[in-house]
């Protein structure tokens, strides 16, 4: 198989490799760039565990070939805290506070799916938030903690001084 040389920016760092055309983006991120926070749960685009952002939009990295992101910017779960000098992103903090995770395998996918649209969440009702995260499967939590975490994170992002429902506005 002829390898193809690609250059991908992952979390701000340039990764250059010659890869087989059939290499999945998920494998490229995990095994070439050695960023293992992105998890592979089904390899057929249903579970959403492998979600990363390409040029700012959430994508299933198991449904893309690495060669398809040549020259593009990929952002993975590791970026969330790294971009804040190691401090957790408000969405991560909310997942912690609201019990939005148990085994944690699906969690990076939820974070990367929701993070780009957090600014739209404040206007959403419960059913809309549930629809928003319905592209990702979680087997541990029953989703309730995740719904609460997304709502809380959006509230905090919109108005950092407000912390909890019922708090001063």
């Amino acid at each position: 198989m002829t390898r193809i040389r690609i250059t991908v920016t992952i979390n701000g760092a340039v990764v250059e490799r010659a890869v087989d055309p059939r290499m999945l983006l998920s494998d490229f991120i995990r095994h070439e760039a050695r960023l293992t926070g992105t998890h592979v749960g089904c390899e057929h685009g249903v579970c959403g565990s492998c979600t990363v952002q390409v040029d700012g939009s959430p994508v299933r990295s198991c449904l893309l070939f690495a060669v398809q992101v040549d020259g593009r910017e990929v952002r993975t779960v590791e970026a969330l805290a790294a971009e804040r000098d190691g401090a957790l992103h408000p969405l991560q903090e909310a997942f912690h506070a609201e019990q939005g995770l148990q085994c944690g395998f699906c969690t990076p996918g939820f974070l990367m799916s929701v993070e780009p649209v957090l600014d739209r969440v404040e206007e959403m009702d419960d059913a809309q938030i549930r629809a928003l995260i319905s592209g990702n499967l979680c087997r541990c939590t029953g989703y309730e903690g995740i719904v609460c975490a997304v709502r809380e994170a959006a509230r905090k992002m919109a108005s950092p001084s407000r912390s909890r429902p019922g708090g001063a506005s």
Binding site: T36, H39, L80, A81, F95, H96, A97, C103, G104, G142
Partner: protein
């Protein structure tokens, strides 16, 4: 034992320690572990449900660039993986590590390809050629039990691998003179656990030994199986649990794939990794809950249950799982069909029947969600037949709090609880008295609401005595803890119970900190590693970690505290009884300034005095219980069942961490609801799986659920050293029954098959509304009220 009045950490909603790494993407699951030179293994799996192998051609695969080896059963030459069973009525059935001459289910591995990368291994697997003669596929378990199209395990003369007949009390007399006698067939669907991380193992050979990282709930069981199967010294093996991405029972077993991977690593002398893909996980890991039940009940006109006569057929697939065997549900379901009710006359026949399907194993709740489905349908059937309100029927039959402990007719000893209080709590939450009016009002608008109730009781944290009695020789039943205090006063805790999302690094630290009298931040719970301190134990299944692991931690810490006080008494020249350990200091009671740091006492003691292990073997099971109540609405156009409310009133004893306990309940209820409404693993008539992807096997998303409301009761638990009962599985028991009862209530039509079928519900809804238009409203009130 810690004085519960002064517990500092137990009972508090402490946010989990596990979260930070997982949220950053810094968790370490088995496929995240990188080893230079690692080889990747792919299993070649049977495309036939049942076939005789004529020839397997591997030359083309072996010649592929990057393929290191292609191995078959005769190359590995390993004994079968045979669950050791001494159970009366059960046969021991061996399971090949790799199938050789006979293929018994679609997905069964018969060869393995080892390559330098997983893509090449998969290429190689496609080049392995199988020449086999299809045999008749055994798909229907009822046929398999009586007139099998083929036998699966000759020379065993039947496909019935376990049969148990039980009679107690005046069954025939009750059926002869009871006012109500009914017979129904109930069906529980085949499900699978679907942990988001499939199975996986990394094996590194070294000096004749093996270092293993495995995504497992039972590392010590795996350790023993590797030692026994591969003939290596027990101290040459270590099994370490990295982060485990969900287990739910599916990872409680030792699988042929794990043994094969280790055997290949030993043979090649190189590290080997096997990471399962989702299709293999769905078709070839383990399934559960596939049961056909024929239920006869006798009841008095006042709603009292007189007798049950039940025939249970469990479709266990092609083999048993290691080390549990093939009788988990066939034994568990009928033993708990009496549920939380008094029953004086009971007969059952229970059979585990082999078919050409994926083997059945443990799945959260094991046989008990099906038992609950039976006894809760029974209660509603009695209510419908007698006209006694369904709540009143339950009240008349529940075991009373004053009768605890209660010995059930099947020999279970329900240890403690107030079942009536749980019923009250759940009914209050859903406003049961007000519901009938709400239902009538909705019906006038053409909307179909229903309310369902499910009471349950569950056994958990069973010890070695119970496993021995069941004949399950391969299950330890006990657990062990090792605690080491260092000269800085910091404690490290090792146990035999890995977590797969249960938060044990947090809750075990809470328990240990309280027992030791040290600040929680000084306590670390280490990952499970079978090489540490020679520990042995059961592993994390049967809702046992808080009771059994907690018990082992408590016993170990109590001995450490005893030694701290003894040594400090010598150092301080004061009586032992005048000392207590609080906040990391051994201090004089009533004179807290007069104290030694824990670390100082450790530093001055002989080496090893503060590193010790203890075992806890639960003398008997403990019995969590509760009542679920739900309200549903059935859409007459689609048949879709929409959840409106879901309430849990449950008693798991003393709650170590409410955040963690509620998370366990919510997750378990969600899995129960999935089985009630969506999930069913389907085979066609040839034994071909029809639901081998997540597009076909319907794991629900967030949009299918509503918030789950939880109310905790906490009746004292005398038989648990930590005051806890289990909480990991109980949430799965109620949903199937509660939803079936609610749907029946909404439709006025019995719901005895799960998951609720859309077409059935749509037809029943239309009939109900049709009747509603022509009949008086009184005539269409809930069928069970």
């Amino acid at each position: 034992m810690t004085d519960r009045e002064t517990a500092s950490y137990v009972g508090r909603p402490i946010a989990r320690r596990e979260d930070a790494a997982l949220l950053r993407g810094a968790g370490r699951f088995v496929d995240d572990l990188h080893v230079d030179g690692v080889l990747h293994l792919r299993f070649v799996r049977s495309p036939y449900a049942h076939a005789a192998v004529r020839e397997v051609r591997t030359a083309q695969a072996a010649a592929l660039d990057g393929v290191v080896a292609v191995l078959r059963a005769r190359d590995l030459d390993l004994p079968d993986l045979t669950p050791p069973l001494d159970t009366v009525g059960a046969v021991e059935i061996g399971r090949p590590i790799l199938a050789d001459r006979l293929l018994r289910f679609v997905g069964e591995p018969y060869a393995t390809v080892i390559a330098v990368d997983p893509y090449v291994a998969e290429d190689g697997a496609e080049l392995v050629e199988l020449d086999a003669t299809p045999l008749p596929a055994v798909v229907d378990p009822l046929d398999s039990a009586t007139r099998p199209p083929a036998l699966l395990h000759e020379p065993h003369p039947t496909n019935v691998l376990y049969e148990n007949k039980f009679t107690a009390g005046p069954v025939d007399e009750a059926f002869a003179d009871a006012a109500v006698v009914l017979r129904r067939r109930l069906r529980s669907p085949r499900q699978t656990a679907v942990p988001m991380e499939p199975r996986g193992i990394l094996v590194e050979p070294h000096d004749g030994g093996l270092r293993v990282h495995a995504s497992t709930q039972s590392p010590h069981m795996l350790h023993r199986a590797l030692v026994e199967h591969l003939g290596i010294a027990t101290d040459a093996v270590s099994v370490v649990c990295p982060d485990v991405g969900g287990g739910f029972g599916l990872k409680a077993h030792v699988y042929p794939e794990e043994i094969a991977t280790a055997a290949v690593a030993l043979r090649l002398g190189r590290p080997v990794k096997w990471i399962e893909d989702r299709a293999d996980n769905l078709t070839a890991a383990c399934h559960a809950r596939d049961q056909h039940l024929d239920v006869r009940l006798a009841a008095d006109s006042d709603g009292r249950l007189r007798a049950l006569d039940v025939d249970v057929v469990c479709d266990v697939g092609a083999y048993g799982v290691f080390a549990h065997g093939h009788l988990l549900e066939a034994m568990g379901t009928p033993s708990m069909i009496p549920g939380p009710y008094r029953l004086d006359a009971y007969r059952f026949r229970s059979r585990a029947v082999a078919t050409n399907k994926c083997p059945e194993g443990a799945y959260r709740g094991v046989g008990l969600p099906v038992a609950t489905f039976v006894h809760e349908r029974v209660m509603d059937l009695i209510a419908a037949a007698t006209g006694v309100d369904r709540v009143e029927v339950r009240r008349r039959n529940l075991v009373a709090a004053v009768d605890m402990p209660h010995h059930s007719i099947t020999g279970q000893r329900y240890d403690s609880g107030d079942y009536g209080a749980a019923l009250d709590a759940a009914l209050d939450a859903v406003d049961y008295p007000g519901f009938a009016a709400r239902q009538q009002e909705a019906l006038r608008d053409g909307r179909l609401l229903g309310l369902g109730i499910a009471a349950y009781v569950e056994y958990c944290a069973v010890g070695s005595a119970v496993f021995q009695r069941r004949g399950m020789r391969g299950l330890a039943g006990f657990d062990e803890a090792h605690v080491a205090l260092d000269a800085d006063g910091a404690a490290t805790v090792w146990t035999t119970l890995p977590a797969a999302g249960q938060g044990l690094a947090t809750t075990f630290a809470q328990l240990a900190a309280d027992e030791l009298g040290v600040p929680m931040e000084r306590v670390t719970v280490a990952p499970v590693d079978t090489a540490v301190a020679g520990l042995h134990g059961n592993g994390t299944f049967a809702s046992r970690s808080a009771v059994s692991g907690g018990g082992a931690i408590a016993l170990t810490c109590q001995e450490i505290v005893r030694r701290l006080r003894e040594d400090a008494a010598d150092l301080m020249e004061i009586a032992v009884d005048d000392l207590e350990v609080v906040d990391g200091r051994v201090r004089v009671i009533g004179s807290p300034g007069n104290a030694l740091e824990v670390g100082e006492v450790v530093a001055r003691a002989p080496a090893g005095r503060y590193a010790l292990s203890r075992r806890y073997d639960p003398p008997q099971a403990v019995y969590p219980y509760g009542v679920h109540a739900c309200i549903v609405e059935v859409d007459p156009t689609t048949g879709r069942v929409r959840l409106d409310r879901y309430v849990v009133a449950e008693d798991c004893g003393r709650v170590i961490n409410p955040l963690v306990a509620d998370g366990q309940v919510r997750g378990a209820v969600a899995q129960g609801l999935a089985g009630a409404l969506f999930e069913s693993f389907v085979y066609d008539a040839e034994g071909q799986p029809q639901t081998a992807s997540l597009m076909d096997y319907l794991v629900p998303t967030a949009s299918e659920f509503v918030p789950i409301e939880i109310h905790h009761l906490a009746v004292a638990v005398p038989d648990s050293p930590t005051g806890t009962k289990g909480v990991g599985e109980s949430g799965t028991l109620g949903p199937g029954a509660a939803v079936a009862n609610a749907v029946a209530d909404a439709l006025g039509s019995e719901c005895n098959t799960l998951p609720v079928g859309l077409e059935w519900a749509r037809a029943a809804a239309r009939e109900r509304l049709g009747r509603g238009r022509v009949g008086s409203l009184a005539g269409v009130s809930g069928a069970t009220t």
